[in-house]
Amino acid sequence: GIQVEQSPPDLILQEGANSTLRCNFSDSVNNLQWFHQNPWGQLINLFYIPSGTKQNGRLSATTVATERYSLLYISSSQTTDSGVYFCAQGGSEKLVFGKGTKLTVNP
């Protein structure tokens, strides 16, 4: 089945720092999504990015489908960026999630 691996598992930053989160996926059929799970448990959709690069404010994502990885960049991090970031790869019917990267941004 589809395998999704995320790194690092934990990341602690000072406010204002930049970071890069990585997602490796196993399947060549790729419908990749990035999510942010906030402290209340809500899953916020950040990007749908099967290939290429997208930007939304301080966040951007790049997926290189041929090499089966995706990167999420967070610039000038803020305390509100804290939470768990999940990537998920879509197969025929379902999304398969990675275990997430827990990000803590300290003031």
């Binding site: 419908n31 999504q33 999510f35 448990g41 809500q42 899953l43 959709n45 749908y48 099967p50 999940f86 998920a88 879509g90 025929s92 019917e93 379902k94 999304l95 398969v96 999630f97 990675g98 275990k99 997430g100």
Partner: protein, 113 residues
């Protein structure tokens, strides 16, 4: 922007009781999903639903679970005879005919006592 709506946000139920979790998908969407996240773990697929029938289900989705689209707007997940290990966050998602991306609701936190 249209949203997937889930109710209730938190449900507390005694073990052995039946519970129904409700979802209102985005109105023009055709594919519907339920996912589960046990506290501290990753999000896991439960079931997908299209054209009034289950299109795929995971090993987790056993006879204890059922899904229904009782009318044109609601999509429900029923758990019969709940167990302690059913305690989790349950997410509903929907997509239009393109299937991707999936749009998620805010989740229902289910606590079994």
């Amino acid at each position: 922007e249209p949203e997937v709506t889930q109710t209730p946000s938190h449900q507390v139920t005694q073990m052995g009781q039946e519970v129904i979790l409700r979802c209102v998908p985005i109105s023009n969407h055709l594919y519907f999903y339920w996912y589960r996240q046990i506290l501290g773990q990753k999000v896991e697929f439960l079931v997908s639903f299209y054209n009034n029938e289950i299109s795929e289900k995971s090993e987790i989705f056993d006879d204890q679970f059922s899904v229904e689209r009782p009318d044109g707007s609601n999509f429900t997940l029923k758990i019969r005879s709940t167990k302690l290990e059913d305690s989790a966050m349950y997410f509903c998602a929907s997509t239009h005919s393109e299937k991707w991306p999936q749009h998620f609701g805010d989740g229902t936190r289910l606590s079994i006592l």
